[in-house]
Structures are given as C-alpha cells and as structure tokens.
C-alpha cells in the first residue's frame, strides 16, 4: 500500500468536509444579509456578501467595554502566572530538594479539579470580602486555573536545557541568580511565549467564572457578552451572533496555528480544556 492511496484521500476529504463545516457555516452566516440567512433551502455561500452583521455586533453598546474588560483581565492573568510560574518552574527543574515531588503532584492534581470545586468557595469568599464583580476576583480565579499548568509547561522547557550549559556559566563565575536570569531565562523564552499563549487562551475563553462573578453588564468579559446575544424574547439575530463569534474566535485560532508545534505537549500538561 502506498502513501496517498485514493481511499485514504477520499476519507481525508470527507473528514475535512465534516470537521470544517461548522466553522465554514459560522463564517458563511456572518457574511450573509438577513434575507439570505432565513431561507428554506440554506445558501452555501452569501449571494450578496455584507459586513452589516459585523458592524451590528461591534456597535452593540457593551462590545468595546467588554472587550476592554477581557483585555485587562487576560493580560493581568498572563503576566502574573508567567512571572510567578517561571521562577517556580526553574526551582522545580534545576534544583533537587525535599518536598519537590509532593509539590509537583499537588500542582498536577489541582489542574484536574472540577470547575465548581473552585467556583463555589471563591464565590463565597469574594462575596464576604465584597469583591464579587471586581476584576481582581476574576484574575485570582484565572490565576488559580492557569498558574499550575504554566508551571508545568515551563518546567518542561527548563528540563530540556542541558546541565552543561549551567555548569559552564558557573565555571565562568556566574552565581545562581546570574545564571538563572542571563543564561536560563533566554533559553526558555520560546517556552514562555507558548505558555503565555496557552494562558491567554484559557482566560480569554472562560465563560463559567465570568458568568458567575460578573453580574453587571458593564463588567462582562467577551464570552459572556457573546453568549448573552441569545435573547429568547426577541429571537436570535444569527447573522450578528455568528459575526461576533468570528470576531471572538479569530485571535484564538491565530494563536493556535502559531504555537501548533507546542500544542500537543502543552495540552498533555492538562489545561486549555475543550
């Protein structure tokens, strides 16, 4: 059997058709005028492509505010978890000390907790601290979900650096800190970028926590804004909902394609849940 037999090609084509269809249908709908969306026979491409749905979505009164909220919260989460995570990852990979194994197992186990196990107590805690609805509460909740796997993924990058490099730095007279900051950190830079993107995706996509914590519309993040497009009373405007979905999904898809080499390793570390 040779590579690329016709059976394999036919199967691949069928698979691509089925798997790409939902995304294609989202984009297709986003560019259709209303009259072409609600037709008894679906139209497989827009006859009169329009950007109207995008401008409707973007001109929703909360869009820019909620986009801003998402950016603030996601940026804070990524920065906090990278800064804390990189030092912890260095400690867990370049040093051997008592209790290391326990810490690693705890970090691994914490990632596997069901969402409600953190959501309920955090809700209670932030309620009694009067912090519900604040960005700080949201960032803390995201750090809880993102930091463990940031440590885990960056540690994987540290482990790959040969010990000789570190020893050479020491022979050249560099101390522990010097070695860490000017030798090791630059070497794990690609890992830091990949981890940052993973954290970005996890925080950017979160719906459950923001939906529970942020009761005020002006404090919504984009996923909550997106889901609140569904209005059972006025009927759903599928055109602008799909346009909004495109706007929301595009940065994530771009990032995914950018880090595809590290995707499998990063996902195995247990985060960015589907």
């Amino acid at each position: 059997m040779t590579r690329g037999g016709w059976k394999a090609k036919a199967l691949a084509a069928a698979f691509c058709l089925v798997w790409a269809f939902p995304v294609y249908w989202m984009v297709n709908t986003a560019f259709k005028p209303r009259s072409e969306i609600f037709t008894s026979t679906p139209l497989f491409w827009p006859r009169h492509p329009t950007l109207g749905n995008f401008s409707t979505a973007l001109s929703q009164k909360q869009f820019l505010t909620n986009l801003g909220n998402s950016v603030i919260v996601v940026a804070a989460t990524v920065i906090v978890s990278i800064v804390l995570g990189i030092f912890a990852a260095a400690a867990l990979s370049r040093f051997r000390f008592r209790g290391r194994r326990v810490i690693m197992v705890v970090i691994l186990a914490v990632q596997m907790l069901p969402a409600t196990a953190l959501l309920i107590p955090m809700f209670v805690m932030f309620n009694s601290l009067d912090m519900l609805g604040t960005f700080a509460a949201l960032v803390l909740a995201y750090v809880a979900t993102v930091l463990p796997f940031s440590i885990w993924v960056m540690r994987g990058f540290f482990v790959m650096i040969p010990a000789e490099i570190e020893e050479a730095a020491h022979i050249d007279g560099a101390g522990n800190w010097r070695t860490l900051i000017s030798v090791l950190f630059p070497l794990v830079a690609p890992g830091v970028i990949a981890t940052g993107i993973f954290s970005f995706i996890a925080a950017w996509n979160d719906y459950l926590i923001a939906y529970t914590f942020m009761q005020d519309e002006s404090r919504y993040t984009l996923p909550v804004w997106l889901a609140s497009f569904t209005n059972p009373h006025t009927g759903t405007d599928y055109g602008s909902q799909m346009a909004a979905s495109v706007i929301f999904a595009v940065p994530v898809i771009v990032f995914f394609l950018a880090i595809q080499r590290n995707l499998v390793a990063g996902m195995s570390a247990g985060a960015v849940k589907g």
């Binding site: 249908w25 804390l84 197992v105 440590i151 898809i253 995707l263 849940k273 589907g274």
Partner: protein
Amino acid sequence: MLGGALDAPPGPSPAPAHRSRRRRRDLAPLVLLSPACLVLAVVTLAPIGFLVATSFTDYNQRTLFTGEYANVGLQQYTELLSDNDFWTSLLRTVIFTAAMVAGSVLIGMGVSHLLTRLGRGWRYTVTVVLIVAWAMPNVASSLVWNWLFQPGYGVANWALARLGIFGDTTSLNWAQDPMLAYIAIWLLIVWQAVPFIALTLNAAETQVPKEYLEAARLDGASEYAIYRIVTLNHLRPTLLLVTILSVIWDYNVFNQIWLISRGGPGDATSTLGVFTYKTAFVGFHIGHGAAVSVVTTLILLGLTAVYIRNLLKSGEDL
C-alpha cells in the same frame, strides 16, 4: 533525562554518582518557589478547605446578604445521598462521559491512522482543519451548534429532511427532545475533542519503528492485522493517557451543555456539573452545592490518581 542528579532519590545519599551544585542545600529553590506556592495556596488550597467547610453549613441565598449561617454537620451529605436527582445526574454523567470518550477516542484513532497514510498535501490540510476545530472557543462553537441545529432554518434539519429517512425534519427542535439534545451535545464534544486525540496519537504513531511494519508486511500480514498487532501495541501508553485525560475533561463538561440545553429539557442533559451549578447558583443552596461538589471532586480524584500514577510510570521525571 538530565543526568544522575535529577534521578537520584531525595535526601542525602551515601555515594552520589554525579556530584552537582544542585545537591547543595541552599535557599535558592525555596526563594524561587515561595511566591508561586503562596499564591497557589491562597487561590486553590484555601478555597478547597473553604468548600469542605461550606458543605457542613446551610449557606444559602439569605447568607449572601446577612452573612448568617448555621453548622448542620453532615446533613447536606445525608440529604444528597437520599436525593434521586443526584443519583440520576451521577448515572447520566457516567453514561455521557463513556459515550463521549468512546466516540472521540475511536474517531481520533481513525484520524491518527489516516494521517499516516496521506501524502504531504493532504496531511497538511487535515492538520489545519483539526487545529481550527480545536481552536474554536467553546462558547463560540456552542452558539454555532445552536444555529446548525436551529428548528426551522438550521442546516442540520434541512440536510436530514433531504436524506428523507426521518420524514420532514425541518422543524425538529433538538434542544427540546431529551435524546436529540444529547446527540447534539455529543456531536459538539466529539467534534472538539478529536483534534487533540488525533494529533497526540499521530505523534506517537509516527514513532513506531518502520522495520516492524515492514517485517509484518513481508510476512504477509493484512493491513488490519499490522495495525492491531504492531501499531496498537506501540500506541498503548499514549492511548491510555489520552483516554484518562478525555474521561477527566468530559466528566467536567459544563459550558457546552449549559449553552445548548441548560441541562434540559427537564433534567434530561443535567450532568453532575450542571446539577451542581443549578443547586449552587440558580437555587443558591450553596451549602448543598458545596456538598455535591465535594463528592464530584472525590470521584474525580480517583481518576486523577490513575492519571498521575500513569505519568509517573511512563518515566516522567517528577
């Protein structure tokens, strides 16, 4: 992986084979670790303690405003264990998880194998399609699903009607029928889960030594027999890992169910996650919700233990 120092048992060992500065008892790792550990303790360990504490109280809507609650001991748990809704949700979660994992792992194995049989161009195309499907944020894909399966103008109903097997399906309301709602959710979960599984398995499948495959081929084994005997044997550890992770993830699925059916119609698609959420944040019986969450976590902890043990066994340097 990194030479002897990392593989040596912790604590002082009598004759270290590789002396390294890492052996020195210095404060560096402690200093490096403490900020992250402190934050993790505050944002994960403390909440878990709090969750357990809350599950022994009658914390509810009133408490949110007044701060008053009473300790009720094990009452939430005894109520829970005699609650039919809880047991049905648990059973439902087990069945849902099994069906989702079976579907996504089997299709993922198929796609992984398909990738090894394709030339460059097709392999690249399939990979891009997989990554795009994988990258779709689940809030967005849930909304797309609602539109695909919309009664009246949804393209799924139109396609089914064209097939003609089920008669006129144009106004089929997927979210309002227990079985159909479940099928729609299953399709979405499988659609999103296959890319990770297929790509992970494929990464392992390309590592199967060519000589083994060629030898089997020379012996006249059928392609199916080669796959079953040679390839699957090599895939076993990866397959196990992917299956355990899928079980953990699918057991925890919430967003997709919530956005497609809200657990309905009735409670037909209400898994443990949805049941907990409704108890804690719709009825605001937070104490009770905490008890459900503790039980959910304990079950999951069993699965996680298997996963971690497996990682340890597969030689991951912990």
